[in-house]
Subunit: 255 residues, 2 copies
């Protein structure tokens, strides 16, 4: 298929590379800054522009992958003279109707993308939605060329999926960050000692639910250990609050 | 070496199996309940007892692996007539001096152990401490027969290590559990869709710090998305509080 990318961030870069490798033709890349537009266009062997008015008029799908907060403005700048063209965005938390096009949809690959860390797209679940049934089929076909797991999901349920991803990825990662902070301040132990524990915590979920997998003082409701650990956090009131809230929430979850 | 196990829980079972496979002789297993004492003794090809007074008097090391809350009582029941015998416990959060023995130490393998899920001990970092230098060497030698990573760490710093493990394992796992709860209640999407995201969240830590790896609305401080997600949690005040606290803490961490 012929694809245009509006946006050249981490997600657009990873998705663009996957589509390019699967044999699709990337027609053009747009980015606000020339540097990132050129960088991605080089990789995807295509032309680029930094002017939304110069985005080409002919492609099978136009993928808008910009910051959530910029999405409404970018979409409305593109709006005129786009009859019959199919626009999708990639933002998990934004509803489909953020796009003011007759033919529109959402293509949400659920993963955490960072610069300089390439990901294997084939294992990333992709969630697709479109106003029109034919467009939905087109997106499914496109998605299945790069991912083994493609789901249809409407905007309402996708909101909760995205929120679940915030908990499973961003918040879990912040727990790792708080652990790293404790190690940095006490003892001479590198954070790498935590990696086998973190790997096993993730690996367990292939054979049991998070609730079944839970271990530690809170699930045993070992108030002796919990009280001592709260005292260790006396100088870090934010972590102390998190400790209290999590211990209670873990305990309640087992009831 | 000749090893006695006092306790037959998840940690004792995993540690016992690893030592047995490495060629050590497990002399005896004690557990309060006959069922678990026999089960572990069967695996480790040794005798068992349910009476602390019947714990044998001769072994290179006696490993006490019981619930943290039971540790002081078990240790004090064993105390008399144990001159010259070397006792260690496996509790990350308990100081070495919980043990009232002349020769004592701590052997803390930092991992999350669950029934029915065997772990590869060789990648588990083990933290050792002993009152006497010769005993410390003995423990290091023993630990290196089953693990590639052995650290000396005193009780004070081990407290913080254990607390860091609570954040990296138990609290991160609870984030997975909260994500699972959201998916269960909204849309028809199985929790398994989260596994590639969770795996990647863990895998990133091999090439960057948790702080560098962070993504999502809080690190971008995208108040539009955060406000909408807080509204989605209106019926779950505990998760709403966690969302607020974590978003603020993630944001502060980047300053």
């Amino acid at each position: 298929m012929k694809v245009v990318f509006i946006g050249a961030g981490n997600l657009a870069t990873n998705l663009g590379k996957a589509l390019f490798r699967a044999g699709h033709e990337i027609v053009q890349v747009y980015s606000r800054t020339e540097e990132s537009a050129r960088a991605l266009a080089d990789v995807l062997k295509c032309v680029y522009t930094t002017d939304l008015l110069e985005v080409v008029r002919s492609a099978d799908i136009f993928i808008i992958s910009v910051k959530d907060s910029a999405l409404p403005a970018v979409a409305s700048s593109l709006q005129t003279g786009r009859e019959g063209q199919f626009f999708v965005h990639t933002a998990g938390s934004m509803p489909m109707d953020t796009l003011p096009f007759e033919r529109c949809g959402v293509f949400y690959p659920m993963q955490t993308f960072s610069k300089n860390k390439e990901v294997d797209f084939s294992v990333i679940p992709c969630f697709v939605e479109a106003k029109d049934d034919n467009d939905l089929q087109l997106m499914k076909t496109l998605a299945l060329t790069i991912s083994d797991t493609v789901y249809e999901l409407d905007s309402e349920n996708r909101k909760y999926l995205h929120l679940a991803a915030v908990f499973c990825c961003n918040f879990a990662n912040h727990c790792f960050g708080l652990g790293a902070r404790l190690l940095q301040e006490h003892g001479n132990v590198p954070f790498s000692v935590m990696l086998p524990l973190i790997d096993e915590t993730a690996a367990k979920l292939y054979s049991m639910s998070p609730r079944e997998a839970q271990t530690g003082p809170a699930v045993r409701w070992d108030t002796n250990v919990m009280d001592k650990q709260l005292q260790l956090l006396a100088d870090a009131p934010d972590m102390q609050k998190i400790y209290e809230l999590f211990s209670k929430s873990i305990h309640d979850d087992q009831l």
